[in-house]
Assembly symmetry: C2
Homo-oligomer: 142 residues x 2
C-alpha cells in the first residue's frame, strides 16, 4: 500500500504544470469543491473551492511575467482504492520572464485525495516550513 | 465517509491524555514505527519512531512541573476501512504546577492513520501555523 509509483502521483505533475502555466482552471480542477487547505501564508485555513480560487488568482496575478517552477522530492504515498495521501518536500523557484532564477524556497506538503467521479481530487492540503524556536521566523531553505 | 463521530477520533483523546500526563510511552504507542512527521518547530522532518521519541522526550522533559492541556476544534475526518486522515485546529495551553495558565498557542494539525495489527497508528503527522508574509514570523493565535 506504500507505493512510490502510483497513478495518484499524477496530481504532482498536474500541479507543477498548472503553476508553471499560471493556469487557474487547470490548477483548481485538481481540488474537490469542499477542499480544506492549511496554507503556509497568512491565513489559518481556506474552506471550499471559492476561497481557494481567490488565493490562486491572487498568487498567479502577483507574478507578472515571472514563472514558478515547482519540484517535489522525498515523496511518500499511501493509497487505498478511494483514499490516498502524499507527503513531500517542495521547492518553488521563481524565474524571470527571461528564465533567470530570482529566488527559491522549500516547503513541506501533505495532500489527501479522494476518488470523486472517477478522478482523484485533493480534499485537504497542508503546506508549511519549520519555525525557529528563538526567532519565531520561518525557515525557508532545507 | 466524512464522519465527525468515528473510532479513529480516539487518537485525539489518547494524544491529549498522554501529553497531559507527559507519558512518553503512551504518546509513542499512537505512532507507527516508520512514522514520518513534519513538525512545526526547528526541523524539516522526523523520520522513524526513534527520531520522534527523541523529540517527545525533549518536549516533556523541558516542561518541569508545568502541564500542557491540548484541545482540538474544527475537526474533520475522512476514513476508509484501513486508511484515515484527520485535520483540526489545536490549542496547546501551558499550565503551571498549580494550574495557572502561563501561555496558549494555536496550531493546525493533519494526521494520517493506517490500520496496523488491528489498531490505528499515525503514519504521518503535519503541524504548523501560518506565516506572516511581511515579517516571516509565525502567527501563534487564531
Amino acid at each position: 500500500m506504500n507505493k512510490i509509483e502510483s497513478p495518484v502521483l499524477g496530481i504532482l505533475d498536474a500541479y507543477k504544470a498548472s503553476v508553471f502555466a499560471k493556469d487557474v482552471e487547470a490548477f483548481l480542477i485538481l481540488y474537490a469543491r469542499d477542499v480544506h487547505v492549511f496554507d503556509m501564508w497568512g491565513a489559518w485555513s481556506y474552506v471550499g473551492i471559492g476561497a481557494w480560487r481567490e488565493m490562486v488568482v491572487n498568487w498567479f496575478g502577483s507574478l507578472g511575467s515571472d514563472r514558478v517552477v515547482v519540484g517535489f522530492d522525498v515523496i511518500q504515498v499511501v493509497e487505498t482504492s478511494n483514499l490516498a495521501f502524499i507527503h513531500a518536500f517542495v521547492t518553488f523557484k521563481g524565474l524571470s520572464g527571461e528564465g533567470v532564477e530570482l529566488r527559491a524556497m522549500n516547503n513541506r506538503m501533505t495532500i489527501a485525495l479522494q476518488q470523486q467521479g472517477g478522478a482523484w481530487k485533493v480534499v485537504h492540503q497542508h503546506t508549511s516550513a519549520p519555525v525557529n524556536h528563538e526567532t519565531l521566523k520561518v525557515m525557508l531553505n532545507r
